[in-house]
Chain length 339, copies 2
DNA sequence: TATGGTTGCGGAAGCGCTTCCCCTTATTTA
DNA sequence: TAAATAAGGGGAAGCGCTTCCGCAACCATA
């Protein structure tokens, strides 16, 4: 707690018997320094347990090695955390840090925070959406490299990384078809959610590809077990011979599984069930546990940050959207041999 | 993306027709500046949409207005996010930012990150534990003010903010007693978890206070619905006339409620159920929804950061642990009039 | 031996800001 | 009216670092 003053580069230089300039070069770059002096400087630095003053460094060099991470609404979107963690893992390797700020769902705050972070001298911005709809693009106002994740933006030239919900749904349905199911229903979240829409499109598309149709209509509703139980009961009533339910999320799938089991049907033998998200507290806790799609959010965050670095480094990064396919995770709700 | 150079204080000063010194004073402090000049400077600043270069400011003043937030293991602990958000709300008011880093559960990383953040010039450190046990104290190695949250530390002189699990459990049990329950069982998480231990102690303590004993032994287990269903069945078999189950978490309570209902018993009429956490996806989704204890994590994070600021400001803050009581949230699982 | 290129190093400027301290002018007090 | 005080403003130093550029010593080439 006693803020013992840190040793400065000047002191290191003095101890090593060189100029500050030389010390700086020795520590940072390889440029025109003999191995001998570099060793000497580094040894001195170690002896003083020198650590550079990053604020000064940033001021002098014009680069801070800090990026800003803007969360649109971390309370709403539990998915933000995994992406941030994925981003951090890349940051760490490159000796970058992240200042994190959240906008609590307010778009204007996002812009403000972007400006605030630029004042802080961040080298770039990673904007994490909440998958509830478009993010208003702050690229223009921020005036530093921006990469968006988990939400489309209002500017088509932005660099955006998204999960490919359409492809994910196709993958799941194909898996259901592979195990011989043909009467497939779809119970999912609120219709206004882009993710929900894409998944629904994926489901119907995959079925059409195989000359099939959805069993009943798409059941849009809420991200809620309570609602899902109800919806599933309706599906079972309307289409008693349904042999699979593709659910819009693990939360819904967990409730669906409960509702299906409650009617005496066996999962997966009578009715196979798939979720979406690989959200452990649901996917691993049902009995049997859920076949689902893992969105590889950490990977998504990492990929986005990599793009951001390229931009910070001055490389031209093509604008536009990159879609990331997730990974199918097969468990007992579709494969009787698994738990 | 075109990094348009930011206007500097010098330019503002020139436009306002004053010296840089005066401009600085006008913008930052009230010290010995006439209202007229201050207005003039501020107007100039606004016209140029001046924003201070915080790196330079920090270098010159020795304070960065940034704190470091160290997460011990954000993947394990979903509770970290609310605390961080609570902290952010205070930070924002004080015009501070937070650099966030996570240690992925490794104590040594925590120390390293502490050092790294000091290099970055952070003014203080908020260390967020994962409630899985003690955090190794980094106060000594960090050499800047440190406040810990959600986990005790190895150094009793550290400033630590904790949820009072004991008091929370007492509150819940008292509520059960209030509604006339006397045969109360306790199904909870892993015994090695400090939170679990404290809650169990609270439960038995509250019962003793009223001359009662727990119905059966404490059922320690896992944070898992699957396990909780099983445990609840056992409880019902061993103590068929049990009239309340205090659960160690909402996750467990959700499964307990399911298991109780499956036996034909009514909740809350036959068996009242309480959870812990007020974790929406469980507490609000059972039928009826769960009476539970909200730990006010945002408030906890905010309180911790307030202490940190006091320390940064040079105020003496007494070391030791502060316990935060949560808030009882009554819902249908104990009160038949509620959903 | 003269010429040019290379290598290793340091002096000095400057990044944008705060702060110490001194100077001027206006205001009060004796 | 002179002297003491307060108030407003600016000059200059300095925070710790990077980087531009100049200088000396060394090497290779013809």
């Amino acid at each position: 707690m006693d803020t013992a003053r840190q040793p400065t580069l000047t002191e290191v230089a003095r101890l090593a018997g060189v100029s500050v300039t030389t010390a700086s070069k020795a520590i940072n770059r390889q440029e025109r320094i003999s191995e001998a002096t570099r060793k000497r400087v580094l040894r001195a630095a170690r002896r003083l347990s020198y650590t550079p003053n990053l604020a000064a460094k940033s001021l002098a060099s014009g680069r801070s090695n800090i990026i800003g991470v803007l969360l649109r609404d971390p309370m709403v979107d539990r998915l933000a955390m995994p992406m941030v963690i994925g981003a951090q893992s890349v940051l760490e390797q490159l000796e970058f840090s992240a200042i994190i700020a959240d906008a609590r769902g307010v778009d204007d705050r996002l812009t403000e925070l972007g400006v605030m972070l630029r004042q802080r001298g961040v080298d770039g911005l990673l904007i994490v959406g909440d998958n509830q709809g478009a993010i208003s693009s702050i690229t223009a106002s921020a005036k530093i490299p921006c990469v968006y994740v988990h939400g489309p933006t209002s500017n088509s030239r932005d660099v955006v990384h998204l999960v490919d919900d359409f492809a994910g749904a196709v993958t799941l349905v194909n898996h259901l078809l592979d195990i011989g199911r043909t009467r497939i229903a779809h119970v999912t979240g609120p219709k206004h959610s882009p993710a929900v829409q894409q998944r629904a499109l994926g489901v119907t598309h995959a079925l059409h590809e195989h000359g099939l149709r959805l069993a009943g209509r798409v059941r849009y509703g809420l991200w809620s077990q309570r609602w899902a139980r109800q919806a599933t009961r309706e599906v079972l009533a309307k289409v008693p011979n349904v042999d699979a339910i593709a659910c819009g999320s693990d939360q819904i799938a967990a409730a669906a599984l409960e509702a299906v089991t409650a009617t005496g049907r066996k999962v997966p033998d009578d009715v196979a069930i798939t979720g979406y998200d690989n959200w452990t507290v649901f996917a691993q806790e049902t009995d049997p546990s859920l076949t689902t799609l893992d969105m590889d959010l950490e990977h998504l965050g990492a990929a986005a940050v990599s793009d951001l670095f390229a931009m910070i480094g001055g490389n031209r990064v093509g604008g536009g959207t990159r879609h990331h396919e997730g990974t199918l995770v097969i468990r007992g709700s579709t494969d009787p041999r698994l738990p």
